[in-house]
Subunit: 119 residues, 2 copies
Amino acid sequence: MKDLVSRCPIEEVMQVLSGRWPSLLIYYLSEGTKRFSDLQRDNPTISHKMLTMELRKLEDAGIVQRTEFDGYPRRVEYDLTPAGLRLVPLIDALGDWWERASSDVPGDQDVANDHIKMI
Amino acid sequence: MKDLVSRCPIEEVMQVLSGRWPSLLIYYLSEGTKRFSDLQRDNPTISHKMLTMELRKLEDAGIVQRTEFDGYPRRVEYDLTPAGLRLVPLIDALGDWWERASSDVPGDQDVANDHIKMI
DNA sequence: CCCTGGTTACAAAAAGGTGCGTAATTTACG
DNA sequence: CGTAAATTACGCACCTTTTTGTAACCAGGG
């Protein structure tokens, strides 16, 4: 999904939120300040490279604040920006919508009902 | 983004909403019933393969209703389901959030401000 | 050599595009 | 009248592009 096709804000948000990681990272960051290695522990299946790339993307989008500290083992902290914090409930609302949609569709034959609300 | 990593509803919604097309298709379908060829006209850059695949995905997710009519040239209609309709305002809220986030970040050097609200 | 956070180069995998085939019926043409 | 073409919504096979993973390397203090 390289570039936009419609110059509309919705397509733009989806461009940054699309993919497996953005929402997960935002969720874990909503718990509070995290370091690179914390986020690696939080989602063990993300590759090193993906984590840096996704964090940069979120930083560029103004969702995540990156703070670098000088020091012995170099230390970098990540937080949600105020805009990022405002985004959290919107993402939660999508999760709630999905839970409801999965449960009240009658002929929903798939495993949609054993989903666990963990974000 | 093949399979899930966290069994949480948010990751699941993002799996179906991720990408360039889902939000656009939902937007166009929120205008009312559309046929395959209508949707092709609405977004001329989507390939027919992508369009069928994305519509199937949205159908499987319970967002889109597909109705096939017998006839001379076969006719198929697509609508939003009730769940799909409930989703629309949530997506709009993301667009609004993005517009605000783009405008009130001071050091935002990119073109975020000339975005046009069209969804 | 270790640590943390990161970059780079290369390879694998996934996403996406192109074009052809198909159904059933109408219309167009010689 | 017989035949060919057009229409609509795809499925399939093949190929290119984009994304993601792997692994190796870098910095600089301990």
